[in-house]
Amino acid sequence: MNDHATTPPRWLQAALLAPGLAALLITFVLPVAWLARVSLLPQAVSLLPQAGPSVPATGLSAGAYARVLGDPFYWWIIGRTLGIGVVTACLAVPMAFPIALFLARSTSAWRGVLVVLAIAPLMTSTVIRTYGWMVILGRHGIINSLLLQTGLLAMPIRLDNGLFATVVALVEILMPYAVISILSTLGRVNVELEQAAALLGARLPQIVLRIILPLALPGLLTAALLVFVLAISSLVTPQLMGGGRVFVLATEIFNATTVTLDWPFAGALSVVLLILFGLVISLYQRVLARMEAQA
């Protein structure tokens, strides 16, 4: 009853929603729908101005999808994309866990600063952090200089330009997401349980393995999902670290849109990536629901 006084009138509700809805329509609904439509165009038409006047885009064909799914190369690309996602998630989550646990249980005066240091990299562009890894792993980079100076190497080795460099950079770039996600779960794990276990004589490794890890499992899973989906859709890092030799879905999409100007093909690859996204997220929800049912 009281709520009535603070509920805006109908026309105002509509007026408040309309601009946001319009913006979402133009910047989200329309582009995704148009992308799906273009992926079903018959011939390899580009709608870019430099490719001549716009080709009338009509007709319906699954040709672009047939070209993706009929080519073993693209199955290999899909497999490699998923592989990079899994490896990145499997490295980033265990590496983020100690930082999150340390921050969650720290009573230090520096805790605030340490939280900011763990999360601040999120506020710096992926391009800049990828560049940092180019400096570290490059031919004249830090690792090579150190190995040369200590006499462990006679010639600089190639650490950059490849799968290894791409995964190292992705792990570092996506770790802060995992730290945030694990930190928020650890905040909900009851400290008294740990204290009780410690009083009963459990050592720290036991407490971590038997109490904290099982209770934090949903948070670890969320962190893994987040890192995985961000890794399989990342473009800048594989493009720059891979030196044109690491092929994943994102680099192929970029190539088809800007180099070969094959828009239906780019659309089909994007839809494939979107479907992978949907599958992984629904799998995650199913696993999470099962874990909650067991708890």
Binding site: G20, L24, T124, V135, L273, L274
Partner: protein, 264 residues
């Protein structure tokens, strides 16, 4: 292993992980003081030469201006649209509210690269490719879910009885909004606007698809530069960009803790 050795190993592990996490930014900072035209480590000199070169570089200056303009425009528009939508969603009683709410959050579930391709195909016939307007529009799209969500949660935290008291004492709806609701929302609004600005300022994938020749943002300028060259100039530019993103964060942090200190 004794407990002390255990604690030491544990702290060492955390320190090493921190070193890994902060390595690229630390390295960029160190390299930015070098003067040699190629990438090498450790630096031969300590000078601000590269910084001066960046500030004189017309391409970088143009990109900086573009990034600031697009970030400010996208963040303020996204804040207005998101706040209005958050109000309608929090206080509205229309049918299908759950669906609209979901629609406002759904762009977060779509990878940026897919949005980028779709935006490129949509903005092209509108003649908005490689324009400031196109970039602003695209960045509104990716930031509106966040501004809506942040303002929604601050609205949910407000005590509605204050609004009711204001209305009972004869305040008009507008007065209630301006004098009661808005002050309570301020921290949420500042956070939402800042997040939107930073997302726009750091965004590179969408910009890579829909801009690049004329409307070049800073991440895009850095990307294009390091594809061919890796000299210290781009390190200096990177340090400046990171500093530019940290300044607003630090100011807001300080503002909030200052208010906390004053408020006791």
């Amino acid at each position: 292993m004794s407990p002390r050795a255990g604690t030491f190993c544990w702290r060492l592990l955390v320190a090493l992980l921190y070193a890994f996490l902060l390595a690229p930014l630390a390295v960029v900072l160190v390299v930015s003081f070098d003067t040699r035209p190629y990438l090498s480590f450790p630096p031969a000199t300590v000078s601000l030469h590269s910084y001066a070169a960046v500030l004189r570089n017309p391409a970088f200056r143009h990109a900086g201006l573009t990034s600031l303009t697009v970030g400010a425009a996208a963040a303020s528009l996204s804040l207005v649209l998101g706040t209005a939508a958050a109000f309608a969603l929090a206080r509205g009683t229309f049918r299908g509210r759950a669906y609209v709410q979901w629609l406002f959050l759904s762009p977060m579930l779509v990878p940026h690269i897919v949005l980028a391709v779709g935006l490129m195909m949509t903005l092209q016939p509108l003649g908005l490719l490689d324009t400031l307007g196109g970039l602003v529009l695209a960045h509104i799209g990716i930031t509106v879910p966040y501004t809506t969500r942040i303002v929604s949660s601050s609205l949910a935290a407000l005590d509605r009885s204050c609004e009711e008291a204001a209305r009972l004492h004869g305040a008009t709806p507008w007065q209630t909004f301006a004098r009661v609701i808005l002050p309570g929302l301020r921290p949420g609004l500042v956070a939402a606007g800042l997040i939107a600005f930073l997302f726009s300022f750091d965004e590179s994938v969408i910009a890579l698809f829909i801009a690049g020749n004329d409307a070049t943002t800073l991440p895009l300028a850095i990307y294009q530069y390091i594809q061919f060259r890796t000299d210290p100039q781009v390190a200096a530019l990177s340090v400046l960009v990171v500093a530019l993103t940290m300044i607003p964060v630090a100011i807001v942090e300080r503002g909030i803790s200052l208010r906390r200190a004053v408020g006791g």
